[in-house]
C-alpha cells in the first residue's frame, strides 16, 4: 500500500514547493515571512522528498496520470529507480541550498523577495517534474518551465547589461536545445505517433533512426549540460545568477540533462551502438579538458567554478560513454561499474559544487567582490565559510578521503579493466583516456588551490575586506549540511553503491551491491579485494590518529615557544598586500603551457608610463569559431530579405499579381 502511495507523496511534496512559492508571491514584500518561514519550509519539503526518493529507489516503478496537458495526452508520471535517484539528488541538495537561501536573499536586491521565492520554488518543482515525467509533452513542459524560471532568476539583477546578455544567451541555447529534445522524441515516437514514454519503450524504431534520435537527444541535453561546443552560456549564466541559484543550476539542473540522456539512451532506445559511447567519451574528454584549463585561468571566482562545472560534466560524460561502450559489448558488470562511477560523480558534484557556489555567495555578501584579484585573507574574517569551503575544495579536487575521490577512483577502475573488448584499438585508446582523466583531475586540483588560496588565504588585497563578516546562522547551516554530505559520501561509498544498485540494474542489468559490499561497510572493492580496494574510513581514522599523536609527542618533548613576527620580506621592506600573486599570475603557467586553447588579448605597459597596468584577456575561442559566424549568416539572411519590402505599392501589387498568375497557370496546367 505504501508502495502505491509513494509517487503521490512525491507529487504532494513537489506541489508543496509550488504552494510555498505562491504564498511567497502573494506577500511580495513581507521579507520576514519569506526568509524565516517559507524558505525553511521549502528545505523541509526537500528533505522529505529526499527521504521519499530513498524509498523510491528500491521500490518497483509506479505510474500516475494527472488529468492535465493535452486532451489525448494527459500528464503521465512515473517513479522508477532512475528518477528516484535523481529526485534524491535534487532533494538532498535543495535542502541545503534552501536553508542557505533563507539567510541569503536580502531586502532590496534585484527583484522583490516574494517573486524570487516564487521563481525559486517553481524552479524546484519543474525539476522534480522533469524527473517524474513519463511522456513527451509533460517532459517538455517541465523542461522548459525549468529553463524559464531559472532564466528569470538569473536575470534578477537585470540592471547590468552583461547579466541581461548572459540571460539571453542562456535562454536561447536552452530553447534550441529543447527543440532538439522534442525532435528526438518525435523520432522515437515514430510512425506510431504516441508520445508516452511507454509507447516509445515498446515501439522500436528501425534502421538509422535510433542513431538520429540519440544524436538529437545528445544535442538537446548536451546544450543544457554545457557539453562542448554548446557550453558558452554556462560561464556567463552561472556568475550572473544569485549564488543559491548558481548552486542549484550547477549542482542539480545540469544533472537533469544527464538524467534525460540516460533515460533516452538506456530506457527509451532499445539497443546502443558502441560508437555512441566513443563519441560521448571523446566529447566528454574534450569538454572536461577545456573546462578545467579555462577554470584555472579565470579571475572571477564564480566563472572559475562555472568552468569547473563544465569539467565535471565532461568527466560524467566520459563515464557515460564508457557505460555505453560496455553495454553495447554486453559486459554488464563493467557497465555497472562505469555507470556507478557516473551516477556517483553526479551526486558528488551536486554536493561539492553547490557548497562552493554557496561559499562564493557568502564571500560576495561579505565583500561585494567577485574578482579574485581583490579578495584574500578571508580566513581570519570568515572562518566558518573558509573551513567549509576547504572541504568543498578538497572534494572538488578529487582528494581522499572526500567524496570527489571515490567517484574518480571508480571511474579509473572502470578504465583499468577494459582489456578484453572486441575492438583492439579501443583497448589501446581507453587507458590513454584514463591518463587524460588523471591529468584533468590534477588540473582540477590546481584550479581549486588557486580558488581557495587566493580567496581565503594570504593578506587581504583591499582595505574594505577588513569589514567582511562571516556567514549568518542559516547560511552556516546550509553550508554545513552540504559539507557533511561531502564527507559522508566520501566515507561511506558502499552505502551509496547499495543505493545505486537498483538504478544500474534497471539501466544495464547488473549491479555492484554484492561484490562491492561483501567486505563490510568500510572496504570498497568493486570487483574483488585483490584487484582493487579502497577504504576511506581507514584513511581518515589513521590520519586522525597520527595527527594528535605527532602533536602530543612534539609538544611533550620540545617546549619551543611561539612568537609572532612580521613575515620575512626577503630583504625588501616595502612589501604591500598588492604584491601577492594575483589570479592571473597564478594561472600564468597554464596559460603558457596550453596557449593553443586560448584566444587571448594582452596589453603590456610601456616602460615609461606613470601608471603602468597589465591587462590580459582570455576569451573562449568557440565564439569566434562557431557562434559569430552563425550570427553573421542570419544577419545576411535578414539583409537579403529586407529587399522584398521597399515600400513601393506597385511592387506589392506585382507580388500578388505574379502569385495569382503562377497559381492559375499551375492549377490549369
Amino acid at each position: 500500500m505504501r508502495q502505491a502511495l509513494l509517487i503521490d507523496w512525491v507529487l504532494i511534496t513537489a506541489l508543496g514547493w509550488l504552494l510555498i512559492g505562491v504564498i511567497g508571491v502573494s506577500f511580495p514584500r513581507n521579507f520576514r515571512l519569506i526568509s524565516r518561514v517559507l524558505f525553511p519550509l521549502g528545505a523541509l519539503c526537500a528533505l522529505l522528498l529526499a527521504l521519499l526518493a530513498l524509498f523510491g529507489v528500491g521500490a518497483s516503478p509506479q505510474v500516475r496520470i494527472l488529468p492535465l496537458g493535452l486532451p489525448d495526452l494527459p500528464f503521465h508520471l512515473r517513479l522508477d529507480a532512475l528518477s528516484a535517484f535523481f529526485l534524491f539528488l535534487l532533494g538532498a541538495t535543495a535542502a541545503g541550498i534552501s536553508i542557505y537561501a533563507a539567510g541569503y536573499f536580502r531586502k532590496g536586491e534585484g527583484t522583490a523577495p516574494g517573486l524570487q521565492c516564487l521563481l525559486y520554488h517553481i524552479f524546484l518543482t519543474s525539476m522534480a517534474f522533469v524527473m517524474l515525467a513519463d511522456d513527451g509533452y509533460s517532459f517538455m513542459v517541465a523542461w522548459e518551465s525549468m529553463a524559464l524560471s531559472s532564466f528569470l532568476l538569473v536575470t534578477s539583477e537585470h540592471r547590468h547589461a552583461e547579466i541581461r546578455r548572459a540571460g539571453y544567451l542562456y535562454l536561447l541555447v536552452a530553447h534550441i536545445g529543447a527543440v532538439g529534445i522534442l525532435l528526438s522524441f518525435g523520432v522515437m515516437a515514430g510512425s506510431a505517433g504516441d508520445y508516452t514514454f511507454d509507447a516509445m519503450r515498446n515501439f522500436s524504431v528501425a534502421g538509422f533512426w535510433p542513431t538520429i534520435a540519440f544524436l538529437l537527444a545528445l544535442f538537446g541535453f548536451g546544450a543544457k549540460a554545457g557539453l562542448l561546443p554548446l557550453h558558452i552560456w554556462l560561464p556567463e549564466a552561472h556568475p550572473a545568477a544569485p549564488s543559491p541559484v548558481s548552486a542549484m543550476m550547477s549542482g542539480v539542473m545540469l544533472k537533469t540533462a544527464i538524467y534525460g540522456l540516460l533515460r533516452v539512451s538506456f530506457d527509451l532506445l532499445h539497443a546502443q551502438l558502441w560508437w555512441w559511447g566513443i563519441l560521448l567519451l571523446l566529447l566528454g574528454l574534450v569538454t572536461a579538458l577545456f573546462g578545467v584549463i579555462f577554470s584555472t585561468v579565470q579571475s572571477d571566482m564564480k566563472r572559475l567554478l562555472a568552468y569547473s562545472s563544465i569539467e565535471n560534466i565532461g568527466l560524467i560524460f566520459v563515464g557515460f560513454g564508457l557505460t555505453l561502450i560496455f553495454k553495447s559489448f554486453l559486459l554488464p558488470s563493467l557497465a555497472a561499474l562505469a555507470l556507478t562511477a557516473t551516477l556517483y560523480h553526479c551526486l558528488n558534484h551536486a554536493f561539492f559544487k553547490s557548497l562552493l557556489f554557496l561559499c562564493t555567495g557568502s564571500v560576495l555578501h561579505a565583500t561585494r567582490e567577485r574578482n579574485l584579484g581583490k579578495l584574500g585573507g578571508l580566513i581570519h574574517r570568515m572562518p566558518w565559510v573558509t573551513w567549509l569551503a576547504l572541504i568543498g575544495v578538497l572534494a572538488s579536487a578529487g582528494l581522499p578521503p572526500f567524496n570527489g575521490f571515490v567517484s574518480e577512483w571508480l571511474l579509473l577502475q572502470s578504465f583499468l579493466f577494459t582489456s578484453g573488448l572486441p575492438q583492439g584499438y579501443l583497448n589501446m585508446l581507453l587507458p590513454v583516456v584514463a591518463g587524460a582523466v588523471a591529468l584533468i583531475a590534477a588540473l582540477a586540483g590546481f584550479a581549486m588551490v588557486k580558488f581557495f588560496g587566493i580567496v581565503f588565504l594570504g593578506q587581504p588585497r583591499e582595505e574594505k575586506l577588513a569589514q567582511a563578516r562571516d556567514a549568518g546562522r542559516l547560511e552556516r547551516l546550509g553550508l554545513l549540511w552540504l559539507a557533511v554530505g561531502c564527507v559522508l559520501l566520501g566515507l561511506l561509498p558502499n552505502v551509496v553503491i547499495a543505493l545505486l544498485d537498483p538504478v544500474t540494474r534497471l539501466l544495464v542489468g547488473s549491479g555492484l551491491r554484492y561484490t562491492a559490499t561483501s567486505h563490510g561497510w568500510w572496504l570498497l572493492a568493486p570487483i574483488s579485494e585483490d584487484r582493487a580496494s579502497y577504504s576511506p574510513a581507514i584513511f581518515l581514522v589513521s590520519i586522525a590518529l597520527f595527527m594528535p599523536l605527532v602533536y602530543w609527542v612534539v609538544r611533550r618533548f620540545y617546549h619551543g615557544r611561539l612568537q609572532r613576527v612580521p613575515a620575512w620580506d626577503c630583504g625588501f621592506p616595502l612589501q604591500t598586500s598588492r604584491m601577492q600573486d594575483t589570479a592571473e599570475g597564478f594561472g600564468q603557467p597554464i596559460r603558457r603551457i596550453f596557449s593553443p586553447f586560448f584566444k587571448r588579448t594582452r596589453e603590456h605597459p610601456s616602460p615609461f608610463d606613470t601608471h603602468p597596468r597589465y591587462r590580459s584577456l582570455v576569451e573562449d575561442p568557440f565564439w569566434y569559431w562557431l557562434y559569430l559566424p552563425i550570427a553573421r549568416i542570419v544577419e545576411q539572411g535578414t539583409r537579403l530579405i529586407a529587399f522584398l519590402q521597399q515600400g513601393r505599392i506597385a511592387i506589392y501589387l506585382l507580388y500578388s499579381f505574379v502569385t495569382l498568375l503562377t497559381l492559375l497557370v499551375l492549377t490549369r496546367g
Binding site: 488529468p67 492535465l68 496537458g69 493535452l70 486532451p71 513527451g136 509533452y137 517538455m140 513542459v141 523542461w143 522548459e144 518551465s145 524559464l148 536575470t155 537585470h158 540592471r159 547589461a161 541581461r164 540571460g167 539571453y168 535562454l171 536561447l172 530553447h175 534550441i176 527543440v179 522534442l182 525532435l183 518525435g186 523520432v187 515516437a189 510512425s191 505517433g193 508520445y195 542570419v634 544577419e635 539572411g637 535578414t638 539583409r639 537579403l640 530579405i641 529586407a642 522584398l644 519590402q645 505599392i649 506589392y652 501589387l653 507580388y655 500578388s656 502569385t659 495569382l660 497559381l663 492559375l664 492549377t667 490549369r668
Partner: protein, 483 residues
C-alpha cells in the same frame, strides 16, 4: 433565436449610437458596455449551440456550428477586453492631443462597426455575404488605421486599402466561380451560395472550376490573412494604427480571413477529393513562417515587430490546416485561440509601453519592469508565450503541429524549427532590452487597464496546462468538420 440577433445587432446599434454621441463623455463606457452585451449574447449563443448543436436561421442566411461559434465567442471576448483597454489608452492619446474628440467618435463607432462586420462574416451562411462583410471590415479598419491622419498612417491606410481591396476582388471572382459551379447542381436560386447547401452537394461540384475558384479565394482572403508574399500591408497597418486597432487586427481580423479560407477549403476538398488545397496551404504556410522570422531580426518599431510575429503565426496556422487531419486541425484551431489571446494581450502591454516611452522605437524603450512592473511582466510573459515557451498554450498547439509534421511531413519540420529558432532569437532579444535595464520611460497619466492583459495570459496559461473537456471536444467537432 434571439441570441444571434443580439450578437449581430448589439454592435451595430452601439456603432450608430456612438456615431451620434461618440464625442460626448462616457463614449468609452458605452463602447465597453456594448461589447460586454455582445460578449454575453455570444456566451448565451455558445451555450445554446453546445446544448442544441448546429443551427441554421433566417431563411438559411445565417448558421452556427462548432467551427464558427467558438470564433464568435473568441471575437466577442477579445472585442470586449480591447474596449476595456482602449478606454485609458484613448484617454491618454487625447491628453497628448494626438486625437481630437471627433476622431474619438469615429474611432468608437468604427470599432463597433468593425466588430459587427466580423461577427456577420463569421455567422453568415452565404458566401456572398461573407465576402461583403469582409470588404466592410476592410473599409472600417482602413478608417481606423488612418485615424491619426499622419503621413505614415495615411500611407499605411492607403496601402492597406489598395492591396486588400484588390485581394478581396480576387476573392469575389472566386466566389462567383463557386456560384457558377454550384448553380448547375443547385439550380439558379439563392441557395446556390449557401455554404450548407454547397457542403451537402460538394462532391458533385465541378473540380476544375472549384480548383480555380480556390486559387482566387486563397489569394484574396490570403491577402487579408497576411500570407507571404501578400502580407506587405500588414506590418504598416499594425505599426501606424492606434494600438487597440492593431490588437483586434492581428487578434481577430486575420482569424476571420483564415476562417473564410477554411470554409472554402472544405468545399474544395469535397469536390476535388485530392489534397490540392492542403498542399497550397502547406506551401504558403511554410513560406509565411520562414520569411517573417528573418524580418523580425531587423525591426526597430515595436508594433511592427509584433505585426510580423502575427504573420508568422498565421503561417503556422495555415500550415496546420493545410496538413489537415484531426490532430493538426485541432492544433490549428487551438493556435488561433491562443494566438489571438496572447497577441492582443501583447499589444495592450505594448500600447501602454509606447505611451510611457512616448515612442514606438525599441531602442528608446527600456526598463519597463522597473517603472511599471505589471506592464513589464505582461510584455515579458506575453512575448515568452508567443515565442512558444511552455507552460503557455502556444506551446501546446505548436507541440501538436510539430509532432504531426514530424509524422507526416518530416522534411518540413527542420524548416519550421529553424524559423521558430530565428524568430525566438530575434524577438526575445528586443523584448528583453525593452523590459529590463535602467528605465527610460515615464509613468502614465491615467492608470492603465491591465486586467485584460492578465486575463488573456491567464487563459493562455490554462490552455497550456489543461484544456477543459468541453472545449476539447468542441475543437474536435470543429476539426472533424474541417477534416
Amino acid at each position: 433565436m434571439i441570441e444571434l440577433v443580439l450578437v449581430l445587432v448589439t454592435p451595430f446599434a452601439t456603432a450608430l449610437l456612438l456615431a451620434l454621441f461618440g464625442h460626448r463623455r462616457g463614449a468609452a463606457e458605452i463602447n465597453s458596455a456594448g461589447s460586454l452585451l455582445t460578449l454575453l449574447a455570444a456566451a448565451l449563443l455558445t451555450i445554446r449551440v453546445i446544448n442544441d448543436g448546429p443551427m441554421v436561421l433566417y431563411d438559411e442566411q445565417f448558421f452556427v456550428d462548432p467551427l464558427n461559434v467558438f470564433l464568435i465567442a473568441l471575437t466577442a471576448l477579445v472585442g470586449f477586453t480591447t474596449s476595456l483597454f482602449s478606454r485609458p489608452y484613448m484617454r491618454v492619446e487625447h491628453d497628448h492631443d494626438r486625437l481630437s474628440v471627433n476622431r474619438l467618435r469615429l474611432y468608437h463607432s468604427m470599432f463597433q462597426m468593425f466588430m459587427c462586420t466580423m461577427l456577420v462574416a463569421l455567422s453568415t451562411n452565404n458566401l456572398g455575404i461573407l465576402w461583403v462583410a469582409m470588404e466592410m471590415a476592410t473599409l472600417t479598419t482602413v478608417l481606423l488605421v488612418a485615424l491619426y491622419r499622419t503621413p505614415a498612417s495615411l500611407e499605411a491606410a492607403w496601402k492597406y486599402f489598395i492591396l486588400c481591396g484588390v485581394g478581396i476582388a480576387q476573392a469575389l471572382f472566386g466566389t462567383i466561380l463557386i456560384y457558377f459551379a454550384a448553380e448547375r447542381i443547385l439550380g439558379h436560386e439563392s441557395g446556390a451560395l449557401l455554404w450548407t447547401h454547397l457542403d451537402a452537394v460538394k462532391s458533385q461540384l465541378e473540380p476544375t472550376v472549384l480548383s480555380l475558384a480556390f486559387v482566387f479565394l486563397f489569394v484574396g482572403y490570403g491577402t487579408k490573412t497576411g500570407l507571404v508574399p501578400l502580407h506587405n500591408w500588414l506590418p504598416d497597418a499594425h505599426a501606424e494604427g492606434p494600438t487597440p486597432v492593431s490588437a483586434v487586427l492581428s487578434g481577430l481580423l486575420l482569424n476571420v480571413a483564415l476562417y473564410a479560407i477554411i470554409r472554402c477549403k472544405v468545399l474544395v476538398d469535397g469536390a476535388l477529393g485530392t489534397h490540392f488545397a492542403g498542399n497550397l496551404m502547406i506551401a504558403f504556410g511554410l513560406l509565411t513562417v520562414v520569411v517573417p522570422a528573418f524580418y523580425l531580426a531587423r525591426q526597430k518599431d515595436v508594433k511592427r515587430l509584433f505585426g510580423y510575429s502575427s504573420i508568422e503565426h498565421m503561417g503556422l496556422i495555415t500550415f496546420a490546416f493545410g496538413m489537415g487531419g484531426p490532430v493538426a486541425s485541432f492544433a490549428g484551431l487551438l493556435h488561433m485561440t491562443v494566438h489571438s489571446l496572447t497577441k492582443s494581450a501583447i499589444f495592450f502591454a505594448v500600447g501602454h509601453a509606447a505611451q510611457m516611452a512616448g515612442t514606438q522605437i525599441i531602442d528608446d524603450i527600456k526598463g519597463l519592469i522597473k517603472q511599471s512592473p505589471t506592464i513589464g511582466w505582461g510584455l515579458m510573459l506575453g512575448s515568452l508565450a508567443i515565442l512558444g515557451m511552455p507552460p503557455f498554450g502556444v506551446f501546446t498547439s505548436e507541440f501538436m503541429i510539430l509532432t504531426t509534421a514530424i509524422k507526416h511531413y518530416p522534411w518540413a519540420t527542420p524548416i519550421l524549427l529553424m524559423a521558430l529558432g530565428v524568430a525566438f532569437a530575434a524577438m526575445f532579444q528586443k523584448v528583453q532590452s525593452m523590459v529590463f535595464g535602467e528605465p527610460t520611460v515615464r509613468p502614465l497619466a491615467h492608470n492603465p487597464a491591465l486586467l485584460p492583459v492578465f486575463v488573456h495570459l491567464g487563459l493562455v496559461l490554462m490552455l497550456g496546462l489543461w484544456i477543459p473537456p468541453y472545449l476539447a471536444d468542441w475543437y474536435r467537432q470543429a476539426a472533424k468538420l474541417i477534416g
